[in-house]
Symmetry: C2
Subunit: 224 residues, 2 copies
């Protein structure tokens, strides 16, 4: 039987004191820079910002992809955790929109790392795919609860909600300088789209229901 490498490797052989400190610094620096400026920031700059040499970075993370995965999975887990907390909220609709707005809404544009990782190219990475699945699972629970309460239209799935919110928020960044405040308005439009229960504009018949598959599958990992 193999050791459980892959996702969730919380256990790591104890590091020397300074090594542990440097690892922390690297993660902190990488998180900040990736979130602020996207995943294309160079490893050299990250090492410099952390106050260590490039060799140290590559000893902790054998590849830039490993570093990215570590940071991104962390962000995804944190977000999923906040989502689970929201499941206890009274208003199911507000719970969903709150998590959407606070995590990907206009409030913070400092999530480029997470957004860029939500790309099919990164799903090749096992860790990121696991994080993605966990996130979709939580989102699916929130969406289902909101639908059961009649807070949002019934013909959309978690992926629709995620896709729309991500897309609109990311695009808003490119228009902020032309039109400050557009992110907030766009988010309101998403809300309008998801809340429209008039059924005057039903979404095309599709795999929305069938597609809950991946979300469901991830739910297993989600509960404790």
């Amino acid at each position: 039987m193999r050791d459980n490498r892959g996702a969730m490797e919380t256990e790591r052989k104890p590091l020397r004191a300074d090594a542990e400190r440097n690892r922390r610094r690297l993660i902190a620096a990488a998180t900040e820079m990736f979130c602020e400026r996207g995943l294309e920031v160079g490893v050299g700059e990250i090492a410099e910002s952390a106050g260590v040499g490039r060799g140290t970075l590559f000893r902790n993370f054998p590849t830039k992809e490993h570093l990215i995965a570590a940071i991104v999975v962390e962000r995804m887990s944190e977000l999923a955790g906040r989502g689970r907390d929201r499941m206890a909220d009274e208003d199911p609709g507000e719970a969903l929109f709150a998590i959407l707005e606070e995590s990907i809404g206009p409030a913070q544009q400092t999530d480029r790392a997470l957004f860029e990782a939500l790309d099919d190219a990164w799903l090749e990475n096992d860790d990121i795919r696991a994080g993605h699945a966990e996130l979709l699972g939580v989102l699916d629970a929130l969406v289902s609860r909101a639908q059961a309460a009649g807070a949002i239209r019934a013909d959309v799935g978690a992926i629709d909600v995620l896709c729309m919110t991500k897309g609109v928020c990311e695009a808003s960044r490119h228009f902020e300088h032309l039109d400050p405040g557009i992110a907030a308005r766009q988010f309101d439009l998403v809300r309008a789209a998801l809340t429209d229960t008039s059924n005057r504009w039903p979404v095309r018949a599709g795999s929305a229901a069938a597609e809950v598959g991946p979300g469901r599958r991830s739910s297993e990992q989600l509960l404790s």
Copy 2:
């Protein structure tokens, strides 16, 4: 008085026959590859695909950016032209949604070049900015007409429509493999958002009105 270099340099000193032919080939190859695979394709690959050497490419377009600008502005102008044609359509609402769907909707994913150029980074380029302005002008006209007819909500501007459509369409690409057909559903959701006249979910007060500025300005270039 300076020669009118910058946008719209339709006139060019006559080229030798073979040179003209190679230029055509380059533009054709670049258009296809940029649209299909995005602006990050290498100049070498484009030259090869066009059946010419790299030197030839750089003689026609002194910089990769010049080549991109040429292709992108062409795409933008064509799109703007189709938009102007739609102004004659009977149903203002359908005219707007038709142009949105046919140009950036699910029908064709082959517009990555145009999408990537709709980024603030590319607005530094004068030609692209001009094309962008022209496009926004046309879109503004279509949006206003649709609003006058009560086909879409009155509290959004051309930029809102563009931003939302672009964002949703681009994000859909990243989820197509997980959920085939998501692009179509997302477009329906955009339609729902823009069509919701219930005012139950008004967009935040903002510069939507003030921001027609850039659009209006571009309208000057648009007519004739």
